[in-house]
Amino acid sequence: MTLLEIKDLSTIFKTRRGDVNALDGVSLSVDHGCNFGLVGESGCGKSTLLKSIVGVLPPNAAVTGGQVLFDGRDLTKMDEDALRKIRWKEISMITQSALNALDPVYTVGDQIAETIRIHEKADKSTVRKRISQMFGLVGIDAKRFNEYPHQFSGGMRQRAIIAMSLILEPKLVIADEPTTSLDVIVQDQIFTNIRRLQRSLGFSMFLVTHDIAVVIENCDRIGIMYGGKIMEIGPVAEVVSRSFHPYTMGLKNSFPNIVDRRCELISIPGVPPTLMGTLHGCRFAERCPFAADICRSHSPVLTRIGADHHAACHFTDRVESMREKAARAGTWGDSHSSR
């Protein structure tokens, strides 16, 4: 059953130099009890998508089309008061940098308690007990209730954020690069922890990251995003083993250890497009080694290629040869000079 369904969502940023099409017709869905992983480089529109879902876009940005259906309700049509009741209570968030996600001048315990009190009427001792329990679940000593964020280590702060995100037992948890700032061992602990909590609490997760490996380890479905559009989407195993989009192939190359340990590390040269003004053609054409004229003039639509597998590329019929070439470093140009 579908918990979150995003249909054809578009978001525009107004800037001094013109409009930026940060999201352009994005569609995806997250099922109950499932994990969806969204992968893309920084600046591809991942954060904009998250903010569009919960309606906390900055004042110069606005959703210009599409729907965000959560449990059957369209969040884009809801007023601020109704949205506020859904935020955190039903959709919570594990944020990117745990260091800045907590207010430095209040204790961690107080901030979590505040989160409860925004949504529920509860007396002090019950709140306190709930937080202690949650601290136990995520592995924080309950005695640290009255400590300030700066007294926590990076890993502990991330646990505190997780405790905060789960305290109201939401249906959906959005995890935005939850472990980027942490070292690999702590990263692993955190994800093990999240998976364990998921078994006991039964929430769905929408994981957003630039690290395709994390998605492979933790998610059921994957979406590949580039330039504000979905490039490829489908079950993780499908998309990773039988990629149809050159960008997916490129992303896989930059994380060598996951699929094929012998594979050499290749990065995609160039930088993501600025998305300013009216755009023609495939967003990835600039950096795509297989781009032809049609790629620059016509934007490919997401087409079905497997049971639940879609990709937006003009050349899905030539995928065999693309896969073969994409595995070779030379195809991607001089990757050493790239950023």
């Binding site: 955190w88 919570s92 944020t95 430095p104 001048v105």
Partner: protein, 324 residues
């Protein structure tokens, strides 16, 4: 904490000592012999000698210096050249008057400034913001004595609502206690205009600073998270954004307090407010150097103690500060 306090207090003493020493040598070594004002060359050599002895000017410099420091420790600033009174007696009441004017206006200015700054930051991008920023900048750019003069011109001379200056009407009696004097309606009548002018003038700085500090805080991740938590906008602003934005403003408090105390020199002149600043200006004009020295040191002490108090307050506000 205790170690920090001790260190901090020792440093305050050192600062005051350095300033006292600076004063001593400035008066002895810079051109323009201050003794010339009391010891006229028309006096007989014998009388001149007697005068020098009276003020201790016949002794070698280092003896004068130690005597000077010793006197300061005992809060003895000698006798005024002009009024033949003990300087310490002249100063005590003046210091109280200065504090009574500066402290309430600075507290009011900071409180109002912070609230108004938060408000215009909240209204960012609109007309309110732009016009407040322009107005506040222009107001803060005008010299405060000029604003004082214009206010006297409008409210005292033309509308005749407030007195022209001074702290109390001449010839009035308020009984024996000093408290009755400062609680009298007459005092507040005199106090109102200078208080309002200083407050209004000093609102601008914390207000503009609070605005930019708020704008910076709005970009912080934890504010965004507050929104995602479903927190109401008012709660975000008052509980989280303001508290955090206030921190950088609190760090400027000592500096501004210093300006305000030092700036009392001009404001007291305009309003003929009998405080340390006015006393100092008058003393400088008639070369009454013991009084000048004493006023300068007392204003410095006010500044330094103000810095200290503001630092301690900051430590209470920001849990990340640990005093070592």
């Amino acid at each position: 904490m205790l170690k920090y306090l001790v260190n901090r207090i020792l440093f305050m003493v050192l600062t005051i000592y350095v300033l006292a020493t600076l004063m001593f040598f400035m008066f002895r070594l810079l051109p323009g012999d201050p003794t010339m004002t009391v010891i006229s060359s028309a006096m007989s050599p014998k009388a001149q000698e007697a005068m020098k002895r009276q003020y201790g000017l016949d002794k070698p410099l280092y003896r004068q210096y130690t005597a000077y420091l010793n006197n300061i420790v005992h809060l003895d600033f000698g006798y005024s050249f002009q009024h033949s009174r003990r300087v310490s007696q002249m100063i005590a009441g003046r210091m109280l008057n200065t504090l009574l004017l500066i402290l309430p206006s600075m507290i009011a200015a900071y409180a109002l400034g912070v609230i108004m700054g938060a408000f215009i930051a909240y209204k960012r991008g609109g007309r309110t913001e732009i016009s407040s920023v322009i107005l506040a900048t222009a107001f803060q750019s005008a010299p405060v004595f000029w604003i004082g003069m214009l206010c006297i011109f409008i409210f005292s001379v033309h509308l005749d609502i407030f007195p022209l200056g001074h702290i109390l009407s001449p010839g009035m009696h308020y009984g024996k206690s000093a408290l009755a004097k400062y609680l009298s309606l007459d005092f507040f009548h005199h106090f109102a205009l200078p208080f309002t002018v200083i407050t209004a003038y000093n609102i601008c700085f914390p207000m503009l600073l609070m605005r930019s500090s708020m704008l910076e805080t709005f970009g912080e991740d934890f504010i965004e998270l507050c929104k995602m938590k479903g927190m109401g906008e008012k709660r975000i602003i008052y509980k989280h954004a303001m508290r955090n934005s206030f921190l950088p403003i609190a760090t400027t408090l000592p500096l501004i307090l210093g300006w305000a105390v030092a700036g009392s020199v001009v404001i007291e002149t305009v309003f003929s407010w009998p405080g340390l600043g006015l006393l100092m200006v008058e003393a400088v004009q008639c070369s009454d150097y013991p009084v000048v020295q004493a006023c300068f040191l007392m204003i410095a002490v006010l500044t330094i103690v103000g810095n200290f108090v503001a630092d301690l307050l900051y430590g209470i506000l920001d849990p990340r500060i640990v005093y070592k």
